[in-house]
Amino acid sequence: MGSASDTLPATKRYRILGHPTDLAGHVATLGPVPLPASSLRVWREGFVSALEASGLPGRGGAGFPAAIKLAVAHSAGGRGVVVVNGMESEPASDKDKLLLLRSPHLVLDGAQLLAAASGARNVTVCVPLDRDHVATAVSTAIAERAGTRHAPVPETLARPPSRFIAGEESALAAWLDSGASLPAFRPDKGMPLRIGRQSALVHNAETLAHVAMIARTGSDAFRAHGLIEDPGTCLVTISGAVENPGVVEVDRGTPLIDIVQRATPHQAPQALLVGGYGGAWVGPEHFATPYASLSLRAAGSSAGVGIVVVLGPDACGLMESARIAHYLAGQSAGQCGPCVYGLPAVADDVARLAQGRVDVTLMARLDRRLQEVDGRGACRHPDGAVQLVRSALRVFAADVRVHAAGAPCAHADRPTQLRFPTLPLTGGA
């Protein structure tokens, strides 16, 4: 796991975690954010080429190249908004909270850099309603920077509702525009998001932290980590049946099991959930898979959001998957029939399977429903649920055979090893 840059002094080594939290310390350690000094055009060319050379993809789950996203927003004309997506709706993820609590200036620097490059007039940081401690840290950081040269563009804080779907980027833009967290149908990905008439450049908090580091250290320092096809470092939240759950910064391409060891699993894992609750399970035969997009896809999973959940041996993978499916079904935005009706139906089938309450039509019906729901929503929410369930049927195939014969497993009634947020019954829209 060591890389060439480990021998460099701390200021030159590429990492986004572990820097001072306050503005003075941040600037003392990392230097001021390299915003344009004289010629904007010259600066912009340099910045954009560094971003392109780095190959930085979004770290919010979709992995869309940051340089392309910037180009799309820029071509929509300036005067837009840079939105810091600090929603982190993924229940198993803590990285963005941690970044905003510990390194808010790095994230805000990244937003200011993109604002300068795209001509945006405002930076809006979005932190959900149920995370006041994060919001306080962000407000403090904003106040430290306000009016200084660190914040040429005004920075504001916004508090959208805490629903899962509210973190989806078009839903976030819609909330900022009209107050309703509803994802948009976007058949044409080349079109930028809009808030009113302004274009919106929405980025995950971690992505912005990387932007701010790359602008300081250059793309080579970023690429010195990770793989050629999937460079740099990323943050991974490890949870589940482990002694030391938490967030670690790892090089892309690190084998999954090495990442997991850092959290000290109680026992040898039964399976790993990678990429989010809309990601996919990975079985023991794939534990050595490098943590990178292509390798994970080849192993039937996806990088998605940086999480790994360790499933211990004394748990029922199908029952946990049923719980995830129910959670995701309940989190639908409610706009698209296949998601609104299909996800609860799928969740219901998986629950029946996990409880051994199987009829002869169940497996074929579940298969058909997965096929029909996949890809038929406006956003990727149903796709994630389908991917999760399909991976469960594959990775826990032995359990499927047992349950299909009519027997639930011994672990089906164990408490869940996963995290699920509780919602008020009259949850905000």
Partner: protein, 69 residues
Amino acid sequence: MIRVVIDPVACDAYGFCAELLPEAITLDEWGYPIVDGTPLPPELVEVARRAARDCPRRAITLRERKARG
């Protein structure tokens, strides 16, 4: 190469499109249309335009997709 694209947010499962264009659109178990995204045979394009025009929720558009080269 014309393809049928359905806006799932606008669609309210009237099912008229599947009625007019059963060769290209089927309904799932909840009444919502399934299109496979393959190009329409030329003889169906006129009917498809009708379906798009008469969809009560304006959920259907016909899109020109250049063949990937």
